[in-house]
Subunit: 347 residues, 4 copies
Amino acid sequence: MRIGVLTGGGDCPGLNAVIRAVVRKGVGVYGHEFVGFRDGWKGPLENITMPLGIADVRGILPRGGTILGSSRTNPFKVEDSASGASGIDRIRENLAANSVDALIAIGGEDTLGVATRLHELGVHVIGVPKTIDNDLNATDFTFGFDTAVNIAMEAIDRLHTTAESHHRALIVEVMGRHAGWIALHAGMAGGANVILIPEQPFSLDRVCAYVESRFESHYAPILVVAEGATPDGGEAAVLEKGLDAFGHVRLGGIGEWLAAQIEQRTGKEARTTVLGHIQRGGTPSAFDRVLATRFGLNAVDAAHDGDWGKMVALRGTDIVRVPLAEATTELKIVDPNRYAEAEVFFG
Amino acid sequence: MRIGVLTGGGDCPGLNAVIRAVVRKGVGVYGHEFVGFRDGWKGPLENITMPLGIADVRGILPRGGTILGSSRTNPFKVEDSASGASGIDRIRENLAANSVDALIAIGGEDTLGVATRLHELGVHVIGVPKTIDNDLNATDFTFGFDTAVNIAMEAIDRLHTTAESHHRALIVEVMGRHAGWIALHAGMAGGANVILIPEQPFSLDRVCAYVESRFESHYAPILVVAEGATPDGGEAAVLEKGLDAFGHVRLGGIGEWLAAQIEQRTGKEARTTVLGHIQRGGTPSAFDRVLATRFGLNAVDAAHDGDWGKMVALRGTDIVRVPLAEATTELKIVDPNRYAEAEVFFG
Amino acid sequence: MRIGVLTGGGDCPGLNAVIRAVVRKGVGVYGHEFVGFRDGWKGPLENITMPLGIADVRGILPRGGTILGSSRTNPFKVEDSASGASGIDRIRENLAANSVDALIAIGGEDTLGVATRLHELGVHVIGVPKTIDNDLNATDFTFGFDTAVNIAMEAIDRLHTTAESHHRALIVEVMGRHAGWIALHAGMAGGANVILIPEQPFSLDRVCAYVESRFESHYAPILVVAEGATPDGGEAAVLEKGLDAFGHVRLGGIGEWLAAQIEQRTGKEARTTVLGHIQRGGTPSAFDRVLATRFGLNAVDAAHDGDWGKMVALRGTDIVRVPLAEATTELKIVDPNRYAEAEVFFG
Amino acid sequence: MRIGVLTGGGDCPGLNAVIRAVVRKGVGVYGHEFVGFRDGWKGPLENITMPLGIADVRGILPRGGTILGSSRTNPFKVEDSASGASGIDRIRENLAANSVDALIAIGGEDTLGVATRLHELGVHVIGVPKTIDNDLNATDFTFGFDTAVNIAMEAIDRLHTTAESHHRALIVEVMGRHAGWIALHAGMAGGANVILIPEQPFSLDRVCAYVESRFESHYAPILVVAEGATPDGGEAAVLEKGLDAFGHVRLGGIGEWLAAQIEQRTGKEARTTVLGHIQRGGTPSAFDRVLATRFGLNAVDAAHDGDWGKMVALRGTDIVRVPLAEATTELKIVDPNRYAEAEVFFG
């Protein structure tokens, strides 16, 4: 069998571990051949390929990024070619041109949405879920999340030592546009005094009350805020207009907005650390490497079995297969009970 | 309610996170009081206590070790006191003397075995499982394991760069006397060329064949060996006598024994890194801090609910309660299927 | 002899290592006594002390922050007391009230400026230099700097992996208001494509040219910018007014301003990571712990020798003593030759 | 100019940073060409080369190991070829065959000894010093040392947390056959209770006294021992025979020998961690990356200047050039004053 592999969407530590496992088992155990499509769906769309043999995956296990490159190219959103071929048409043509019998697509909601559509059109597809936000309902965890949480936690750990000497509120803005898992886990692991997530619009009054009560205990408060967190009520309206605390167009994110609000309301200084892309980079944690490796092994097993249209997933300690369509049905958001666990440590 | 807390057995990153969560929720939400018993069962046996309030648990979340101290004291194995009181008798007396209504015992098989017996005698006990080896059947994971795996993986990562320049077999000896989980996960995460675990007696011939085939590819082999791994057949008999490769009394562990054997059989140099206690120390990973914190929260909930004789456990992403007796029934050893996953990458 | 110790100014990894070394050698070898003054000059000003014996410094070597607390209180800037005593008067009174024969002051330009003045007034003072920015001319290095550089370098390392997959300019804003040492070293160690420091006003045109040339090589550019870096010419004027790229009042720092400018001029997305206080926190690196320990040992030697009015300093691999006044004379800025070394790697 | 580059001897974090800096400045600024000789002196001896252009050094800055490979091949110790050509003859022939005008040799005492001899024979040679042990008199520091010290320090940090709960002496064996710099710096940075180095033969009685006094303070002692440390007096004679504490042939190193001795003499358990090759691997610290980069820049400057027979060195914060011969004259061992600094913290 000749199998194509691609990685789509944003970076996520563990992508290379998946690719390596697919190739090592696919070639070494099953004797299949592999071809890499570059830059997500752009690869099969524009027929950009790279060799993908045992030698090509040597040494990539500990590395962040993806040797296949990635992109957010969506074949549904590209224009038809001069000859009238749609994006999907051209992908099917290029798969055929490369004598590819099957495709292993590693990516998030968008990437797997395209994979699902291709499966419905009869293409042999296996999916591997990838979301650093861990917001996919079909699997207990996705790789990359644990690494991101560790990076954010280490930042919070470092702030704690300065928090003991200083007299400023310290804010850490972490990833999480729609789901607050990174903020929740990093904040719980780091001992944050407040955690703000998109699922729970926050009251500025309550946040400022925590900040002030923390200062009274002679420790500076540490606040972890997901980039998608929003205030409730009237404040939300202001924020939505993209204005800062002074009514000007806002450049910074929610972390900086929150710092300005806290300074205005409490009279205390506030400082923001914006972790940004460093949460997506670097070497994966052991948890993510093991999970990504097992996902890769099971995905190539699925291809070998001809179990098309499936996505691999973690349930407890087992790797299972679920219909690809499940990947895109429902966002896994933070359960109120999980948030309540963290609230025990607020203030 | 007045609740005693103790930690028993070997060190494990996350113990302080459990203690902190128990006290923060127990005092802050439920209004209970806590007393710390020092050094495992030695504390209630000899009535050695310490205060355990909100201030005592401040700042301990990221710290390894346990503020309560630990020991391997087993009250079943101590002599009766002058007045004829058994170890268990004295524990019950001292719990009463401290007006303790319930006990939260954090520990491994031995510690929870005593807890189980106390429960059978009517003492109000809740257990929190602790084994760095992750070899407890009743829970998907125990805290400390993820940290140990990351430490071992980082050591393997470092060896890889020297393996590319050198011409020596490199052996890493990791913890795991009866179960090879640390070796399996660290070896898989680190890209080891061979992983040897107690569950699968190894063939020296096969190990040496892997070593030699790896050298042929111009990379030095990296072998991960659990301290409890043993050779099969006749070699095992030699090893059991505590003799080294030359028939002398053996000081070193299996890692060093293996190095001597490989040198003798392949004519290549071999070097051993013995990680030892560094796997048990240092700050816990995010995974372990979150797990330990959730165990602590649920344990104090169980005490508040009067759900005695239970142990908290992880199932998927949920914290559940199981009978304490389950903690000590069966060792969770590495499943042959999990070992087969790793074998894909051998050689 | 009875010696007071205080730490002033911003946090800096290694402060506790200095304190520990002072006390361990002072008590253990010389038999002196120590008293801690809390929160910088606020301690002797308001007579806030803490015990400082061998037991008090146990376990603090690896910890960030300072067990003595810190502040930016400047005794020259406080009002006279009701009885007409100046800040300096009150410090001298409180030193006498505590039977303190000498003072070891650990701090930066401000803290050591006060120490110098006290020395001129006859108080027995020894100084230990502390500046995370490494901008003190009298010493080759100050502790804390190496730790900060490593933290910033690790962030850059992480960005590199995402830079290979993404198509955005990535900016890291690091500390350095007047001197660009952290940016220079972290940028050189991390392989940044552009490094911007306060000593060298930058041309936005040139920065954008680097950004565009880097994109042409299919890698996203990584820019390291010291918080005190400024554009040259007309752009500087705009920035000085505190306006953002759209002419609005600017909330964010230079990193964010630069991102907005790059987006405007090159049409490429740009993202900023603001490391902020995490550069000051956490456990010190080995270099900083050894340097801080040796500073502490030599400082207490100087006190024992009665070598008053001196500050300890690193010259090559030796710890030497220089007049306290040197600490505050001249800022050590980045030499153009050192910047030229780094420019080799720009673009 | 066409310049050959080689790396010889044991692994050392920073080698790739040197290579990258040489090529980036040599090609980008001076327009020279480079050729890589593989596996140390084996490369020019057997004419094994690899291309060495800008593209070949991309991304190698943070990586341990060396892209050129290394070996301990010594051209003085190889047999003459069939045609009677000595090793040195063949190196000169192969340099000529590759049209190489000059050679940059990166290595330790052995590698630079060959370089010195070639220089005396008229070959255009520049040396870059490399010794992880930091035992070269001509330079304040060599790259790789800081990384090794940090790795050893982190191991000691981890042991401290378990030392607080356990009742065993914990020994860390680190590199340093002839010079104890790694043990000294790591032990000082990690807060070891005893540091044993080759320069100072140790008294077992004194070591055991420290161990016992430490146990009395309820903390387990942590001992750092350089692999080349030896006991004084009669014990040394036993150790030299390669016998263990029981008179058997010794497999393990000094760390294990010491553990057996301590157990025998104090009746306390002792455990050894042998760090081994992990001290040589992994990503270099910021200090080492900056130093290695500056060494590389200055080495290619020296070649461009035709300043042959020189070696680059660090003096204070400056990179200077010294005669190559200095590299091999005298070992830089630990000064008694530096050891005395550390002894303050023993026990």
